[in-house]
Symmetry: C2
């Protein structure tokens, strides 16, 4: 097994700290061992702190972020339910697809990729749909680098009586996520982004209104593996009824990743992500490059960098990986070939990494024959045209 | 995080070899990194060797064994399909439940817990059910220690035109599993049993007839996360379309666990499991204890040891854990309180471990005031009564 040492500056996984990686090498224990049960309680308590929630039903689903998405939708949706999904990138599309497979009648609220979902558009959809069961939006769209503000959408959704489901895969641990303040009823995340833990678990949280909707179901949940009532029997304090064998080693890693996060402090960690994003932006500007997602709503942890005219996106990305051991992500869907996705997530978000990337990118573009002056002139012309 | 060092002799996880545990500490790479893609190909090739199959669609699902069960059933079953499920323990029950949640009309073939599913019973069900889409059975019932022979059921199922789905969670790597010879169309397993890799992945294999059934579907697969067609775009050679972020570190561990298995040799590994089972049985007999699952069909890797009259099952199990750091499993369902489940799986299956368990168990029973002579006399009386 030959594994190179990469600087992971793509859309995730991010680099995991050494102590998170070595945590997985600890000896295995059983999934009902008192030592593991204590660890489960620690993880639940720490996840509540990170999600800023008091929801009892907060725990990691034994799958990756997409399993967490399916967990939320499959437990809350019954056949025929009307749901509203904000779609401004790949993960909004995915939520709409998963909801549809649950038998929902899906109304999408579309926005240009790179832009946010506007509260007004959600308000209009809530008026248009007869009996909306839930509204689902992506907080931080990993495919475009846009951060949709949640607070107003939370109030609108609560006022309508619908549930709010929030995708926090890329936001959790990298910028403010306040489930209780924002009136979020159900949320899911992934471990491999700003928590800087390897992929394999999906932290989720269900609030009292979500659990009430589960209790009121008329149909069984179509997934046995993701059925929250069965999972509650294993994860809730005091019961511990065997459901499936939890991924022990992954939970060791998550425990250590959460410990490190809380040791740093939530606010401090968000500030670090903002600071290094600003450093990246300044460096990109100096190279004549720009971040193309909506101004004022750009993610700190995932930066959609426009590929300059005449530059081969895949070739540059390939050289970054092969010559510099730096992974950055490609654009998806309509953004394919047009952006690089540069992640500054969790442990990866350091000034040193920003500098390494800028130096590598600058050299490759220079060797590709594009001068900074040319790119800066083109960017200035574009900005001037946009302003006129 | 305080993790004790346990001897894992329960129903799984088993102890993982040191090199499997340290494999997870290797640095992360991206899920589309050429190095990871090469690793994926290695894993697929090694899994085919272990499953004894040439099925192209052989790979690890990103969830535990129960996710693999759901993967098989959710992709092969459409609403209204008639399916036959052998039920002789917890995992047969679970398959029937999952199939029912897929919208199947389920006919169960029941057998006493501890006994096998008889081919005649499957033949009868195949005649009784109008259009059986599939037959699903558990090869090695982890809840009872019974090993159902597959070969004849495979022929019967193939002759009927139905698909055969096989649960190999506890059998794979511990005794013969021959997917192609036995005409198995779909199978799933878990990493944490006889592969001696931490829990978190579920190796699965779909043969050509299963893939044909997938292509002929009239409804979308109800799970997006487990949709084999989408997963094939990521796992099949040459395509690598992003679906979800694979659990990178868990795949490192599986790679190393499979490498160790093939280095030992399949047949040699099965023989080791048989040898240590026989040693355990001899030792249990000397202690006046017996294995209670059906004679001639007892699993080597999971032994259902009868709890003697007057002995507190949970108290003995608790002392094994607390005083000797040995985990054994409790009975489930109708076997609760009546058996201990003693696993000799993968790396845990050694003569040393058998001796350690026998010494500890002997001491605890002795201290509980039961003499070997009393138990041996009771066992002899019971055997004599059964024989008369």
């Amino acid at each position: 097994m030959s594994i190179p040492s990469r600087l992971l500056m793509g859309p995730g996984p991010s680099n995991a700290p050494p102590s998170v990686l070595t945590a997985m090498s600890r000896p295995l224990v059983g999934h009902l061992d008192p030592a593991f049960v204590a660890l489960m309680e620690d993880i639940k308590a720490m996840l509540r702190q990170v999600f800023l929630t008091s929801n009892e039903m907060t725990f990691p689903v034994s799958g990756t972020g997409s399993a967490g998405m399916e967990f939320c939708l499959v437990n809350l949706i019954e056949p025929g339910d009307e749901v509203i999904v904000g779609v401004n990138g790949v993960f909004g599309q995915r939520m709409a697809e998963v909801a549809s497979r649950c038998g929902a009648k899906v109304t999408t609220v579309e926005a240009t990729w790179g832009s946010i979902i506007e509260p007004d558009a959600i308000a209009a959809a809530l008026k248009q749909v007869a009996r909306p069961k839930l509204v689902a939006i992506v907080h931080a769209e990993t495919s475009t680098g846009a951060l949709t503000p949640v607070e107003e959408i939370g109030r609108l959704t609560r006022d309508s009586g619908a549930l709010l489901v929030l995708d926090t895969v890329t936001s959790l641990g990298g910028c403010a996520v306040r489930l209780d303040d924002w009136l979020v009823d159900a949320a899911y995340s992934g471990t491999q982004k700003c928590l800087s833990c390897p992929p394999g678990l999906s932290p989720v949280s269900f609030g009292p209104r979500a659990m009430e909707a589960v209790r009121a179901r008329r149909h069984r949940v179509q997934s046995w593996y993701l059925d929250v009532s069965l999972l509650a029997n294993y994860w809730a304090e005091g019961q511990r009824v065997y459901h499936h064998t939890a991924p022990i080693s992954m939970n060791y890693a998550l425990h250590e990743a959460l410990r490190l996060l809380l040791e740093e402090g939530l606010e401090q960690r968000w500030a670090r992500h903002e600071r290094n994003h600003n450093a990246l932006r300044a460096g990109l500007t100096a190279l004549g490059l720009e971040i193309v997602s909506q101004r004022g709503h750009q993610l700190w942890q995932l930066n959609a960098v426009g590929v300059p005219q005449g530059v081969d996106e895949a070739a540059v990305r390939g050289r970054l990986l092969q010559e510099f051991n730096i992974e950055v992500g490609a654009g998806l869907g309509p953004m394919k070939g047009k952006i690089w996705r540069v992640g500054l997530m969790g442990h990866t978000s350091t000034l040193e990494n920003v500098c390494v990337l800028l130096m590598a990118l600058g050299r490759i573009l220079r060797e590709a024959g594009q001068s900074v002056d040319e790119r800066a002139a083109a960017a200035a012309a574009k900005a001037s045209a946009a302003g006129s």
